[in-house]
């Protein structure tokens, strides 16, 4: 059966990317971030592939994601940093998940639950998670008091990527936090601030660990650098078969809203992929796909379960494989091309892909 839209993830590419990024990260340890279903690539299988590739840590947003990995038998250290109000960390303790804590309440709960260790999360400018500087003394004092029962294994923050200057200010803040902990006799071995972009281009930010998200999947975090420029290989390819072919006379409308009316007689092909699969409807009439070596434009409105492409007079047939995106080095559209078409970002294109889509890992 080839009727399905399918996501194929090349785990050798994941390993290749980790190797390239490890080289860039120098002596720092590497964490592979597998939150949001491994950026749409499939959390459990990617976690295993990254573990096989030798990553030191796995990172997720919330404990639910961490527990999914543990239930699947993944034994690599896992860090989770986004917690529900009143989180008790009892399941984290039971399943050996390491929480990053942002405030006193989380620190106390983690200690009470008996988790193995914590990372402290500080806000150095992004204004999201993490303790702000005015909260550091109380949090750090308490962490120092608890360190015999609850080791502070790490200190973390996250960059805004606004500009080198702003990132520099964040690094300075991060170093102040590290020093403030040191004054209290707390020396967390894992100090991590850098994500993919900084891991590649901001060596000063590396600390002792870098967190690899987008780049680990082979996608570029920079608008002006391709995967190939960075030596990375996009791991995921999205395909679907042509399910119907139709010759359409010039001037006839196609799909909802008749956004597209061909100027000359043409052949259109229906591809069973739509916004319910996680494709952004905003890419309607803008994105392109490939069949073999030819590139075709998506025409008309992307529907819930289908989109339409204009194949001109080419001999496209029902059952032909359409590649929505994959490795541009192989002549395919990249996830970044879909991001441009929808006015979004590469991260969004992959992380939004529906969990129920069939995935295979090769």
């Amino acid at each position: 059966m080839t009727q399905d839209v399918r996501l194929t993830v090349d785990t050798a590419a994941l390993a290749h990317n980790v190797a390239v990024l490890r080289e860039a990260a120098g002596p720092a340890l590497v964490m592979a971030v597998v939150k949001a279903n491994a950026y749409g690539h499939g959390a459990v299988e990617c976690a295993r592939a990254f573990a096989d590739a030798g990553v030191d840590w796995l990172g997720v947003a919330d404990l639910g994601e961490a527990l999914e990995l543990r239930e699947a038998g993944v034994t690599t250290p896992v860090l989770a940093w986004l917690h529900a109000p009143g989180e008790t960390f009892e399941l984290a303790a039971r399943h050996d998940v390491t929480p990053a804590v942002s405030d006193l309440a989380q620190l106390e709960a983690a200690a009470a639950a008996g988790v193995r260790a914590v990372h402290l999360c500080v806000d150095t400018g992004l204004s999201r998670n993490g303790a702000v500087e005015s909260e550091w003394p109380a949090l750090f004092d308490r962490a120092a008091q608890l360190r015999d029962v609850l080791p502070v294994e790490g200190l973390m923050s996250h960059l805004s990527n606004t500009s080198p200057e702003e990132d520099g200010l964040q690094l300075a803040s991060f170093l102040r936090a590290s020093a403030a902990l040191g004054e209290r006799g707390v020396e967390p071995p894992l100090r991590h601030l850098a994500a993919s972009a900084a891991a590649l281009h901001y060596a000063g930010s590396h600390g002792t660990m870098v967190r690899l998200g987008l780049a680990a999947y082979g996608l570029s975090p920079f608008p002006d650098r391709t995967s190939a420029d960075l030596g990375l290989r996009p791991a995921m390819t999205m395909t679907a078969p042509v399910t119907s072919i139709k010759r359409v006379p010039a001037g006839e409308g196609v799909s909802y809203g008749y956004l597209f009316r061909p100027e000359r007689d043409t052949t259109i092909a229906v591809v069973p992929v739509g916004y319910s699969d996680g494709i952004d409807r905003a890419a309607s009439d803008r994105a392109s796909v490939t069949i073999g070596r030819r590139t075709y434009r998506v025409r008309g409105r992307i529907a819930m379960n289908a989109l339409v492409i204009d194949v001109g007079d080419d001999p496209v047939e029902v059952g032909d494989e359409v590649v929505l995106f994959g490795d541009p080095a192989l002549g395919r559209q990249g996830a970044e091309d879909w991001a441009r078409a929808s006015g979004g970002i590469t991260w969004d294109v992959v992380a939004s892909l529906a969990a129920r889509l069939p995935r295979s890992w090769t």
């Binding site: 009727q3 919330d62 639910g64 204004s127 998670n129 606004t162 139709k246 799909s255 905003a282 059952g319």
Partner: protein, 397 residues
Amino acid sequence: MTGWLRRATIDLAAYRANLVSLIERMAPVEVLAIVKADAYSLGADVIVPEALAAGIRWFGTVEPRPAYEMRRAGVGDDASFFAWQLGPDEDFDAAVRLRVDLGVSTLEQLEAFAAAARAAGPGHEALVHLTVDTGLHREGCLPADWPAFVARAVELRDEGTVRLRGAFSHVSETSEADDHAASLVFRKALDDAEALGATFEKRHMSSSSAGMEHPERRFDMVRMGSNGYGNPVTEGVTAADRGLRPVLTLSACVVRVKRVAAGTGVSYDYTWRAERDTTLALVPLGYADGVSRRAQERADVTIHGRRYPIVGRVAMDQFLVDVGDDPVAVGDEVLLFGPGDDGELTIGEWADAIDSIPEEVSCRIGARVPRVYRGRTATTGATTGATAGGSGAGASS
């Protein structure tokens, strides 16, 4: 306090009431409930039994496979399941044996479906809906090919392998004139088919909007998706105008509040800076959960009945809300959209704010958001949140 992060709450009582109301208003025309895309991501395994309880006897799934799966699970054994987006290697044998109605668009599909029925032997038949392309140019037989298509279907009916269950089409909803033109094409196709000896049990071309507004286009059945979920898609028409109630509420807990000084930049690229000292609330929903990045400074969320803007970039797992000097606390519930009872946006308003449509907003809610069902009547084996909610996230109080 047991914490939770995020949830999609599905009001099944409202869903049933919407369907009962639609059934009454469409009578004697049949109402087919659209449950494609896992019932717009709300969970078809729960939605279908509730629709059955409301009196629905026809379901539409777009692709055949979900229909096969529901049949195999014994859901809605006395109801009909209809699918029309067939794969290149469609499993027609499954359709025959599982009594799934298929919309067929080509002679090849018709022959293959009939062949599967023939091979299955006496007592088996292909439940066929002939699909007419009235302008949408996706699936469907073009008018020029229609007579030969119908003639062959009639032969196969007479042979006993095909049952002519329906004739159907989709309209583009481009304009009233275009849809009217499509309805004329459909009517002519039906007349031509009748002249060739074909009669259909269910003739259907209208979905939610047309079904409500154009009685003359209802024929024997209307396909109701958005209306059933309480989200009329006609511009300027609210759910209340239609006597419907939105079924879906998307909400999350505030996981952090933070006082920031004037000038503070927030989230990636610091695209928003506080104009004055203010409080930010962190909400654990991001674009991986289906919250569009376009919601930044365009869609307001509601906390304690008050609306607040999303500021800074929506990230993969979280976004920030500017709550000014209001006393918002960790644990407070943040409503993104819902029925509007507490001042929150409806899904239609949310969709408008981000240049989308309610169907897209609903379908793209991610698997990390537990589905929490309220008002369930039907008894099935289904449970809340077919997802990795974990850590108490799948609260179902």
